[in-house]
């Protein structure tokens, strides 16, 4: 478990990146930290391995304050996946992956076995890839190696800083799926920084929503969608998902009737149940009314608001992901 206790970070130029943050991140779960750029999410993550130090407050790993810990030792015990190409271009894949085990002075055969096992785990054949160089690999393959490298030293905690943001959408989704499956096997405490709400909803057990150096909400993906704590969280989830039409998919409203309310006293815009979820969302927006009255072959079958549509969208994604 990682605990932030009243953590404040002020940079030399006076900007406050983090404002008095107290937060607990559960062990052996994947926690996504999400927020618009400049919200302090990366700074918060980098405090865990002391790449940034708090101006005030303290951070505890398993109830032990990291303040007094040797930073080099601490970092070797924590996996780190960096945004974009964090791989060392002049080293082979084998050398990249075995870097931390070597820093930890593991015996050569153990290092070698571990590297091979991990490469296999992410679907890269060691016989083919060990002696290659990073630039000979595709972006997706490189970032798989990046994940493997972070796991090589068998850390309990893994920090990931927008690891998939530079990838093309197809590789990104693949890697998200793989990470989710990987996590089901390894159960590490993963902190995953992202600005992509779809990504967070898809892979995280817990989501921390940040804005302007403060935590706006902590919850499971479902909680965030069901009960957004405030307008910011609501709009952040909504805006993101509207931008990413794919999450609404081409599925019809009538497939999600079980999610919709049966009664509604207020105003509602009439919508056909055959409408795609994405189009229905647009209709709702345009109408300016709080709900859609979903009609299937002349019969009123339910009422759907923004929240219900988001749930439907999440459903689409969960269904597609597995």
């Amino acid at each position: 478990m990682i605990r932030f206790d009243k953590v404040t970070k002020r940079f030399p130029d006076g900007t406050e990146a983090l404002k008095d943050i107290s937060l607990e991140l559960p062990a052996r779960q994947l926690t996504a930290i999400i927020g618009p750029s400049g919200c302090g999410k990366t700074t918060l993550m980098k405090m865990v391995n002391k790449l940034e130090n708090p101006t005030a407050g303290a951070i505890y790993i398993d109830d032990e304050p990291i303040t007094g810990m040797d930073e080099v030792k601490l970092r070797r015990s924590i996996g780190y996946v960096i945004q974009r190409i964090g791989l060392f271009p002049h080293m082979t894949i084998a050398d990249n992956v075995s870097l931390v085990p070597k820093l930890l002075n593991w015996p050569a055969d153990k290092t070698d076995a571990r590297s091979k096992e991990l490469l296999q785990l992410v679907g890269l054949d060691p016989a083919v890839f060990m002696e290659r160089y990073p630039l000979e690999l595709s972006g997706g393959q490189q970032q798989r190696v990046g994940v493997v490298r972070a796991l090589a030293g068998d850390p309990n905690i893994v920090l990931m800083d927008e690891p998939f943001s530079a990838l093309d959408p197809i590789s990104r989704e693949q890697l998200q799926d793989e990470l989710r499956h990987l996590q089901q096997e390894i159960h590490k405490t993963i902190i995953f920084v992202t600005h992509d709400m779809d990504e967070a909803l898809k892979i995280a057990d817990t989501i921390v929503v940040m804005k302007g150096g403060k935590v706006e909400q902590v919850g499971t993906p479902q909680q965030l969608i069901d009960e957004p704590a405030n307008d910011f969280v609501r709009s952040f989830i909504g805006a993101e998902r509207i931008n990413q039409k794919r999450s609404f998919g081409e599925r019809r409203l009538k497939e999600f009737l079980f999610l919709f309310d049966k009664d509604w006293a207020g105003e509602a815009e009439r919508a056909d149940a055959a409408l795609a979820v994405g189009d229905a969302h647009q209709l709702l927006e345009r109408s300016g009314k709080p709900r859609l009255a979903v009609v299937d072959e002349g019969t009123l079958v339910g009422f759907a608001g923004e929240r219900e549509l988001l749930r439907a969208a999440l459903h689409v994604e969960k269904g597609a992901g597995v």
Partner: protein, 212 residues
């Protein structure tokens, strides 16, 4: 043409001595230049605020015309090869220093942060990441310095340090074109030769993963 060949044969010993002297001067100057500039370059890449002044000073030295620099040094150090060496070393500094600095500073920041985040110490980052990635630049600097030094070493004759400049100077004084050529040609060949060899080394120094 025949006159030139005759000169080569008759003055063979002298030319050979001057040639060896020339290589000695250039080689020692570059070696000491590397010994000074490489660590300095590494240092100013780490403590960047010193970079500008230190590179600035070496750049000023570089702009002093070579003959004038020899002239400045003679009253202080007298005549002889130490004077010539010091002048040559001063000229070798800038290319090596600047390229070492630029090579290290040019290493992608995210690569270094990855190293830091994985628990590498500063020295490990320098030796395992920064230096290997900067090596092609450093080698290019050494190549420039070497070619430059071989050329300027021709002027060492004016401070009595010998070298192929001796032959050229003697030829000029005695209106002996063949002798001038017998000094100038080896200098040119030497510069081209060094350039080719160092270019080859530079290519070899490029980390394998960076070659496309």
């Amino acid at each position: 043409m025949n006159a030139f060949l005759d000169t080569l044969v008759s003055r063979q010993d002298m030319i050979q001595d001057a040639f060896i002297e020339h290589i000695y001067l250039s080689f020692v100057a570059v070696a000491i230049g590397i010994a000074i500039a490489l660590p300095t370059g590494v240092m100013i890449a780490r403590y960047r605020r010193f970079a500008e002044p230190i590179i600035g000073v070496t750049a000023i030295f570089q702009t002093i015309p070579s003959l004038a620099l020899f002239g400045f040094l003679v009253p202080i150090l007298g005549i002889g090869s130490p004077t010539a060496l010091i002048a040559l070393i001063i000229y070798a500094l800038l290319p090596i220093l600047r390229n070492t600095y630029a090579g290290i500073v040019g290493v992608d920041g995210s690569t270094i942060e990855a190293g830091r985040g994985m628990g590498m110490t500063r020295t490990q980052i320098l030796r395992q990441i920064e230096l290997p990635l900067a090596l092609p630049f450093i080698m290019a600097g050494i190549r420039t310095a070497t070619v430059l030094t071989v050329g300027i070493a021709t002027l060492a004759t004016f401070v009595g340090a010998g070298g192929l400049g001796d032959i050229i100077y003697r030829g000029l004084q005695s209106y002996n074109n063949s002798l001038v050529l017998a000094g100038a040609l080896p200098v040119a060949l030497l510069a081209i030769g060094f350039d080719l060899i160092l270019k080859w080394i530079e290519k070899r120094a490029t980390p394998k993963g960076l070659k496309t």
